[in-house]
């Protein structure tokens, strides 16, 4: 399967990538990692790109790491639409102090607009 994972720069993004790498190794998927432009994130786009490359190298998984500029949701869906992807993977939301699952506007946009299957990683 040809998988595209979209990442911001949060700890949740790291978790999403780790789980996606594990899955890629287990089933032999083709993986592309897209680092999105989210200036408010904990890690900058460059830092996230470097960290993603390190995690892939450490796991010995061969994957393209690209960066996408502009609005994160629409740039990711647009990229997925242009390529031959079977599945789009994104983070599955954050937890509020109370423990409520919160899905942000990017998640909502991707779920409502992506032409592919979308996987939310928890």
């Amino acid at each position: 399967m040809n998988v595209l994972v979209g990442l911001g720069g949060s700890d949740e993004s790291i978790k999403t990538l780790r789980q996606t790498i594990d899955r890629t190794e287990a089933v032999g998927d083709d993986l592309t990692v897209a680092v999105l432009e989210k200036p408010e994130s904990k890690r900058s786009q460059e830092e996230m790109q470097e960290e993603a490359a390190e995690l892939l190298t450490a796991a010995d998984v061969d994957a393209d790491v690209i960066t996408l500029e502009g609005d994160p949701g629409s740039s990711l869906v647009n990229y997925a639409e242009q390529g031959e992807f079977d599945q789009l993977v994104i983070g599955g939301g954050t937890l509020s102090p109370m423990g409520k699952i919160q899905l942000g506007p990017i998640t909502e946009f991707v779920l409502l607009n992506a032409p592919t299957t979308v996987k939310l990683v928890r």
Partner: protein
Amino acid sequence: MSGTRPYPDEPSGPFPSPTTTLEDRDGRQIDIVALDSFADESLEDVVEMYVQFDPEDRAQGIPPTGEQRIRDWLEAIAENTVNVVARHDGDVVGHAMLVPDTGDPAAIDDPGDIEWELAIFVLQAYQRAGIGTELLEGLLGHAIDVGIERVWLTVERWNNPAIALYERVGFEATGTESFEQEMAIFLGE
């Protein structure tokens, strides 16, 4: 004050401080009571309520299902929560709480400096009887008593009855909107 959410400029209230008593629309006598501590017996009473709770009315993953997962959830957030319950014949039939939006226990020393997340649940057999409004107002009254100024919540965007209830007591929608609507209330300084 920390945090980035927008809050209304004008304070809401006043709200009644617990303990209060009401007769609900079905003629049941309901006591709205603030819990001094949230451990042992008081926590078990609330666990018992959530065990009875119909999972169809869960929101955003809470309450969890199953007694052990319910207890784990409440124990994990119990320490610094502010809790008000609705009791009928001694049983907890509704629970409203505020959870501090900080990972720093020292910040709790001044409740007015931090933001508090609100949640409220009423058992299905006690819904649409006026209890939710009294419970919510009782929690906000108690919050003012303990010095809390800023309270926020998220509610599923299609849950119009809940949004109407929150608006009635003074919550306003904040800018953030996706599947959940975020709302905030200012209780005064």
